[in-house]
């Protein structure tokens, strides 16, 4: 199936999806040295991903987007998590390590930014892809057969011959396919993709996006796509969540967020990106830089850089509130001085 996932019509009613994963008040704290203190990287994040839905999580470095994604699978051993992550009726944060392990790879899988560093250099590609199945007690021959099938599906050329090759013998784009195969072979229902195309050249990025597009449509796979590239979001996702300084500041359908961003940060971000299809005289530049997690400003974390700030912004932390079909965390929505 060679189609680009259609854009939901802005005016039409958004199809109601069965929720697959619901995240409530998720916080992630990372310890600081041995002093016993810690820093809050993700600060109370709520969202839902529906069955088969593709959601993009956009943010800059230090915004907490990657840690949010890893928290869903409890992959950071040092991170202290709190809140609720409800997947299919079970709270993942309350599962035993053993039960969580069973879920990883089979219900939720993950692909990462730099495929090379996420492959074991000493194990053949075939063994690494089949491993997800072998761990679950599937026989060697059967696991290998299914690994080969997935590699074929993802367009790895001469997959059968290359099952016994090592990661360093593959090119960047092929490695990303292998990593994707590793994630998909367990037939997960949610795929978390952490900047899977950032390290790739544009043409390879495009192929990988096409691949993700096809696979998720064909398998009804929900995708949480983490990126900082608004272009990728626009071309791939149905919904976008914008993170800033550990919180979600805007969440809505891609079409409406890009057409009419509500949060000043989202507005700035969209205006700040140069475009291949337009000439502009000067780019809009958001002043300053994102705050480090240890030095977050009071009130709305974006207020020092915001050109629409007013008194209240430096004092109160705005909550994420529904606005039409979207959710936005900004005091402007309450009206000035309200």
């Amino acid at each position: 199936m060679k189609t680009v996932h259609p854009l939901p019509d802005e005016a039409s009613v958004v199809p109601v999806r069965q929720p697959l994963i619901t995240v409530e008040k998720l916080t992630v704290d990372m310890p600081l040295g041995r002093s016993g203190s810690s820093v809050r990287i993700v600060d109370g994040v709520d969202f839902t991903i529906g069955v088969g839905e593709r959601v993009a999580l956009v943010g800059e470095s230090g915004s907490g987007k990657s840690l949010t994604a890893r928290a869903l699978m409890r992959l950071d051993r040092l991170a202290k998590l709190s809140g609720r992550v409800d997947f299919d009726g079970t709270d993942l944060l309350k599962l035993s390590d053993r039960d969580m392990g069973k879920l990883r790879g089979s219900s939720i899988a993950m692909v990462f930014q730099d495929p090379m560093s996420f492959l074991d250099p000493l194990m053949t590609i075939g063994d690494q892809v089949a491993e997800t199945l072998r761990i679950r007690g599937i026989g060697k021959a059967e696991a290998r057969k299914r690994a080969l099938a997935v590699l074929d599906e993802l367009g790895v050329d001469r997959a059968a011959e290359r099952l016994d090759a090592y990661p360093h013998e593959f090119s960047g784009g092929m490695r990303q396919r292998v990593v994707l195969a590793m994630a998909l072979v367990g037939e997960p229902r949610l795929l978390i993709a952490d900047e899977p195309t950032t390290a790739l050249d544009v043409r390879v990025q495009d192929q990988v996006l096409d691949l993700l597009d096809d696979v998720s449509t064909r398998r009804g796979l929900a995708v949480l796509f983490i990126t900082h590239d608004l272009g990728v979001v626009a071309g791939f996702a149905e919904r976008v969540m914008v993170m800033y300084s550990g919180r979600i500041v805007e969440d809505g359908e891609v079409a409406s967020v890009f057409a009419k961003p509500s949060h000043p940060y989202t507005q700035g971000l969209i205006k700040a990106v140069p475009r291949i299809d337009q000439d502009l005289n000067t780019l809009y530049a958001i002043p300053g830089a994102p705050p480090p997690p240890l030095a977050r400003p009071s009130g709305c974390p974006f207020h020092p850089r915001c050109d629409q700030r007013f008194d209240r912004c430096g004092v109160d932390l705005p909550a994420l509130q529904p606005v039409g079909m979207s959710r936005v965390a900004c005091h402007l929505l309450d009206g000035k001085g309200a």
């Binding site: 040295g33 041995r34 820093v39 230090g62 990657s66 930014q113 030095a295």
Partner: protein, 284 residues
């Protein structure tokens, strides 16, 4: 993209010293103080024999007992501390100077020189250092001086190899290319940009090296190619006391413990500095 930005402020935070770290610092300072000032208080009798009082067990008069010549073990240890530590410092300083020079010339020089120096270093690394040092010391005539020279000429390869590797890494950094584009001289490039950003690893190594050197020096003396009796150097002291283990254990235990404590103290100092540079190596 996210990880380094988060890790940095955490890694940069200054932390206070733990009780254990304070203890190690205190131990090192105490050892240094003993080595520098101790011998001034030592009685002259430590070099003269008093057979009537030989092999006396520890008592109020002789805290660590006396040896086969009736000399006070405690005061001989104090005097030996100076010999041992001074020699160790000398050895480490000498071979570090050789190592830094060779590494800098190799890193800055043309390819053939780098290749040549590194092959020589490889040879040095491939050979068992203590055995070659033993050979040199034996050839030059067994004495503490021979042992120190032998260890200095066999000790430099690790430093040279390590520092040259680090300097090459530093030279790959964009700021070095930036300085070249700016037109800085080779001398300024090495002294202002490359060396300052490479040497700190070596400083960490120095503390640990003192500990190892104390051990090897004692070993050479024990074998008989280092300090010779009646020197109070610890290795030589153990060598001359080894026949009395069963009759007067203190004559062997005390100097051995002195070597162990010194070597462990400096080794721990090295570890502490290293962990402060790279907190990920730490235990908890």
């Amino acid at each position: 993209m996210t990880a380094p930005a988060i890790a940095q402020p955490a890694a940069r935070r200054k932390e206070g010293f733990s009780a254990f770290e304070m203890f190690v610092f205190a131990l090192v300072v105490a050892l240094l103080a003993i080595a520098v000032f101790g011998p001034f208080f030592a009685p002259d009798s430590i070099y003269s024999s008093d057979i009537a009082n030989s092999l006396m067990p520890p008592s109020a008069a002789n805290w660590f007992g006396t040896d086969d010549q009736g000399r006070d073990v405690f005061w001989r240890l104090i005097v030996g501390a100076q010999t041992t530590l001074l020699s160790a410092f000398l050895v480490v300083t000498l071979y570090s100077l050789i190592g830094v020079t060779i590494a800098t010339v190799a890193a800055a020089g043309p390819r053939w020189l780098d290749e040549g120096l590194m092959r020589i270093t490889d040879i040095g690394l491939a050979l068992p250092g203590m055995i070659v040092a033993l050979g040199f010391a034996a050839a030059m005539g067994a004495s503490l001086r021979s042992a120190v020279i032998a260890m200095a000429i066999t000790g430099w390869p690790i430093t040279a190899r390590m520092l040259r590797g680090i300097m090459r890494q530093t030279m790959e950094q964009p700021f070095v290319a930036g300085a070249q584009v700016l037109g800085v001289s080779k001398w300024r490039l090495m002294t202002k940009h490359v060396l300052p950003n490479s040497l700190d690893v070596l400083i960490v190594k120095w503390a640990g090296d003192i500990g190892t050197t104390v051990l090897v020096l004692a070993s050479l003396s024990f074998i008989g190619v280092g300090a010779q009796p009646p020197s109070a150097e610890w290795g030589a002291t153990i060598a001359s006391a080894r026949g009395y283990v069963s009759t007067a254990w203190w004559t062997v235990v005390a100097p051995g413990a002195a070597v162990a404590i010194t070597s462990i103290a400096f080794g721990l100092l090295g570890d502490i500095i290293q962990v402060r540079r790279d907190p990920s190596l730490r235990g908890n």
